[in-house]
């Protein structure tokens, strides 16, 4: 077990290294440098451009630039090209803003998908099954920003609460309860919107997993023993059906971070995705690369954790 974990961890570190090399190469090899953001500006003389390039190490060979990036990243010295602010605290603040969104979306996905999927599996072919199937497909087929705009219109129109941004401005004097409710309202729609795709995919997966398990011999045995239906479903079937979902946890992370670009942009949420978008617009390479690096590290950590949890949850699996 110990050696397996160690080897797995090492493999993941190698993967992370390769991810960072590829990301670095892609960003630097693509045409368009930070020094060229404003090429038509007559005040930019060639010597100025050369000065900028030297300051950002852009005149060095690619591997040297990678070395500088890694060195600065791990010593915490990495500065944004755009405003010379240290990158890590900048990303840290934005990440803390995104965190409630990620947690909210994850909670919604996992608490809604299971009941819906299980019920659809138990009543296979019923009206409920067919309509949830259709709704699930509709949800993954609708452009996220289209649905979000409809949701904003609906919420603002029917409930009269503002939903753009993280909080309403100018309510510092309101009661704490009011402020907390305000935060929840602002959180609810964006996290629901980022969750919808996940709900659709996961509930379909829960359904097929439950169908698979319900056909197994041990479920028939449990029924033959005369156990009541709830025990059969929730203790014998569901517990076995749950296993594959441990691995889903790690894999849903990159989608969440990638998707946050769109949803944070729509809801003006000052989070990680929006920071990434702004960095892309201004060709702020250190920020782009570091966000990508952190996302990859989180994904690898997530899949590592789910590998370990899988072994803990399923005694049939031995890590060797």
């Amino acid at each position: 077990m110990g050696t397996y974990l160690l080897r797995n961890l090492l493999q993941r570190l190698v993967l992370l290294f390769i991810v960072s090399v590829i990301a670095h190469a892609v960003v630097h090899l693509a045409p368009g440098e930070p020094s060229e953001v404003d090429p038509s500006n007559p005040r930019m003389k060639p010597e100025d451009v050369a000065k900028i390039r030297a300051a950002f190490h852009l005149d060095k060979p690619l591997y040297a630039q990678y070395g500088y990036w890694m060195r600065d990243l791990f010593t915490g010295e990495l500065k944004s090209f755009k405003d010379s602010q240290p990158v890590l605290p900048k990303i840290g603040r934005r990440f803390l803003n995104s965190l409630p969104l990620f947690i909210g979306a994850t909670l919604i996905v996992w608490t809604l998908s299971f009941p819906v999927g299980i019920r659809a599996a138990l009543h296979r072919g019923s009206g409920y099954d067919r309509s949830t199937t259709f709704v699930a497909y509709a949800l993954i087929s609708i452009p996220g920003f289209f649905l979000s705009y409809l949701a904003i219109l609906g919420v603002v129109g029917f409930f009269g609460v503002p939903v753009i941004g993280m909080r309403t401005f100018g309510i510092q004097d309101a009661t704490p309860v009011y402020q907390i409710m305000d935060r929840f309202w602002h959180l609810a729609i964006p996290s629901l919107m980022s969750a919808l795709g996940g709900i659709a995919v996961l509930s379909r997966y829960v359904r097929s997993q439950m169908l698979e398990v319900m056909g197994q011999d041990y479920v028939r045995t449990a029924r033959a023993k005369g156990l009541d239906e709830d025990t059969v479903i929730y203790r014998h079937a569901l517990r076995n059906a749950l296993l594959p979902f441990i691995t889903m946890f790690g894999f849903m992370l990159p989608a969440l971070i990638g998707g946050s670009v769109i949803f944070e942009q729509i809801f003006a949420w000052p989070g990680l995705g929006r920071l990434g978008y702004e960095a892309i617009l201004s060709r702020d390479f250190p920020v782009i690369l570091t966000i990508n690096f952190i996302a990859a590290a989180l994904t690898l950590a997530g899949t590592f954790l789910s590998d370990v949890l899988y072994a803990v949850a399923d005694p049939r699996i031995r890590l060797e």
Binding site: I22, V27, A30, I142, P143, G144, G258, Q265, G273
Partner: protein
Amino acid sequence: MSAQAVASVHAQRPLAESPGRQFWRVFKRDRLAMAGLVVLALLLGIALAGKALTAWVPAFDPATVRLVDKLRPPLSPVSNLVAPAERPLGSIYVLGTDDLGRDVAARMLQGASVSLLIGFVAVGIAMTIGVLLGGLAGYYGGVRLGVVTVDTLIMRFTDVMLCFPTFFLILTVVALLPPSIYNIMIVIGVTSWMGAARFVRAEFLSLRSQDFVVAAQALGLPEWRIIFRHMLPNAMSPLLVSATISVADAILTESALSFLGFGVQPPFATWGNVLADGKDYIFDAPWLFFIPGFAILAVVLAFNLAGEGLREALNPKLRSR
């Protein structure tokens, strides 16, 4: 033999049914999938007709700007000030006009073919890479290159690609490259082959040990022939399903890119950028937002439902039922 007798023979011997017919019988039973297929057939017709009409018929030119007729709601008549050559068919804006007085119907017609093209080319690229890498890993997986096997090399690379937040990566590359419709297709294709590679490898691993492949190898057939003529057709059905669903994803990705301003640039109209432009007029001209939105929903839904129907109909476990 009378038709009835033929039918009864078929009823007794369902195994004699050809695979294609069997597939069709199962597929037809799934009403949602059939609806999806009908929508897709319609869409293909619209896209082809749209391509021809917008290119050759001046009444359908999506780039005609009529500033006197801007933001007209659907079904409104053309104003008298518009020159006869610039009038849409029947002198009525069937789907209204946008902020420059361009005919939304013509733009949607042009967009249908561009959106479909993006979906198909991107998925074509993704599937080609997926089949090549997955096939290599599945067939030559055991070959060692120095310290690592081919399988380790390819599958670890796939893992690397899965670590990227895909949309963020696409956005980064599209934003850095000069804006062009081809770059968008290529970037979407190059970042979405991982699923295909994984299951082609899995299929190949299980096919490799099957008797017909062993027999082909014993006959001394060249390896490319075994791979492309014997193994690949057997791995085709999951590929087809995944391709159908990936087209849907590519269309959605394009619309999301358009929303952020990195989609297909004018003068090309795609449903994604018609929708993205329309969002600014959601109160003044809601049709600019709702028409492309629901069009994308319908088409992507059709791709997803047809893909799911294919999955069911191609699954041998479900066929006999």
